[in-house]
Assembly symmetry: C2
Homo-oligomer: 342 residues x 2
């Protein structure tokens, strides 16, 4: 045993009376191995508490047992949820999670990421939206041989590289619920341009109107950028309309909170005078008054599945469980929706 106290492959080999390579084979579950030998080595490993050194493996394999989460922080809670899901998926494996925020706006974004991936020789990365939509980033991953899974509001890639939510259908359902309640003048606060999630959610909104035979009025659509302030401003514009919309679908909870403030500032009661539905189900949704009806997408599950996809085929022994690629969102009905009064 070394002075560091950590037993190495040499210690195992010596004690078990075999060569290093044999130990290596045991560790890596090589199929061509005598059962006896394997058992003997495994016993020694368990006995002295040997753990393979990840740094040495990384050097020899030219590949690190590190999985990355690359994101652009649109929403802290969402990032944390995905992170938690990934950690669940990585639980019990030899992989660790490395988090890497990126600045979407920066010129150097691509080179930053390349530097990071090449240097650390990540095993794989989960690309969160909206950067998962950037094809040159995906191209980079392919180029340098880094596994990747993309997370997005719609499928953009094959199943092995994708965890997608069904934003369009989810929003369609949410708006259909509003229509069911009797609403006919429904406003939309859309997400920022260039975000696939914004496009999908808007499409879902339009789907619902079309299905119900309701006209699509441009004036009832306002743009936002997922922030509270943008929701506030957009809502002010919509609430200035005559006749006023009786309901608003906001493409994010945070913007929905802005809508609530705008409504309150005009003395409108929610949901009596205005119904609101948000998207995300972040903590704020449950904590505002009235509690916000919203669309919840399974961020934790998506993170977990993505992690499992990233490392699939590594442990060999682990069943090749088919991880899903499409994740269904659900409408969480709380107190911000009621039938219109007029």
């Amino acid at each position: 045993m070394q002075k560091t106290g950590q037993p190495t492959i040499n210690d195992v080999a010596r004690i078990a009376g075999v060569s290093k390579k044999t130990v290596s084979r045991v560790i890596n579950k090589s199929p061509l191995l005598n059962g006896d030998t394997r058992l003997r080595v495994e016993t020694v490993i368990a006995d002295i508490g040997y753990i393979p050194n990840p740094q040495a493996r990384a050097l020899a394999l030219r590949r690190n047992y590190l999985v990355g989460l690359v994101h652009d922080n649109p929403n802290a809670q969402t990032v944390m949820n995905v992170q938690r899901g990934m950690l669940e998926g990585l639980q019990g494996t030899e992989f660790e999670l490395v988090v890497r925020p990126l600045n979407r706006g920066a010129q150097s974004m691509l080179s930053d990421l390349r530097y990071f991936l090449e240097r650390q020789r990540l095993f794989g990365v989960l690309l969160m939206p909206p950067i998962s939509e950037n094809e040159s980033i995906v191209q980079l991953c392919r180029e340098i041989g880094c596994r990747y899974v993309r997370m997005c509001s719609v499928s953009l890639d094959d199943d092995a590289h994708m965890v997608a939510s069904n934003d369009r259908e989810a929003v369609r359902g949410a708006v259909a619920y509003l229509i069911e309640q009797g609403h006919r003048r429904i406003g939309l606060i859309a997400g920022p341009q260039g975000f696939r999630s914004a496009t999908e959610r808007r499409a879902g909104f339009e789907d619902a109107l079309r299905e119900a035979g309701l006209p699509l009025q441009r004036s009832l659509i306002a743009g936002g950028d997922y922030t509270f302030e943008s929701g506030l401003v957009a809502a002010e514009r919509l609430l200035d309309l005559t006749p006023r919309p009786t309901a608003i679908f906001s493409s994010s909870d945070t913007m929905a909170a802005g809508v609530m403030h705008a409504a309150r500032a005009r003395g409108l009661d929610i949901p009596r005078d205005l119904s609101i539905i948000g998207f995300d189900d972040t903590p704020v949704a449950a904590h505002v008054w009235p509690p916000l009806t919203t669309v919840r997408w399974p961020t934790v599950s998506m993170g977990r599945s993505a992690a499992l996809k990233l490392i699939s085929g590594v442990g060999e022994e682990e069943e090749l469980v088919e991880e899903p690629s499409l994740f269904i969102s659900t409408l969480i009905r709380r107190g911000s929706v009621a039938p219109p009064i007029d």
Copy 2:
């Protein structure tokens, strides 16, 4: 150059006509080096774009260029803020951030952490509250030679190992503000037992009352665990009191949101009938109605400073900027406080 395309130290040595060790000395800024040689080597390094391989260094040095964030996820936003701060501090260095959540309740917590730290040979870790208060964890770090910085609501260690907020004083100030507004019956919703932050905030609350010569009534203190539900329940108990408190200080924003719901359920208007102050300044504070007056602690700055402390003395060249150890919180005045009406 290897087939991988990444130039190695050997390439540099060959081209510069020196030995590997000399290149190594240049990389590591060894002082005993001829200026000419250094310049020549540096030129070659820049020319061919050589980047030292972190895995190889980790193996040779028995130490990884990885910094960990160990937390127990009390609050997603707080964790994200700290994480962001750390990444700012690590920006431009060779260090990467690894995130590691821990389950405070689990029996295996300590062994989980040991396994993680020993295996990955982390350079250092930032311990977030409340696990930063666990002395056996700190002991573990010392034992295995992993640098650490503790983040807490009060100083628990020497400056090199500490970033502390001044919760007690901050809460004292917040409650003093309530008293200034004319409140005399002020309720406290305390944090969970065993959390240092809970103790500190409570102490600050008591300080303020004492200073103002107000009696400390046990009945005006309710316990919570930082969750929304616990805040709701605690507030219900306080609001059942006769006479009712005219103000409540809640030890977290999330609990404060619960207080708001409880107040609303009784038809109380905030801040007319009840003033509320929270703690954390999470997004929910700004988004509830009325916007919550709260205490903001500089989580991002604390993360940044902690990261800088962790890696201080590594780059050699970088100035040994004295990073602060005490961080001052500020009272963010919004709309949830008004003078009492009775």
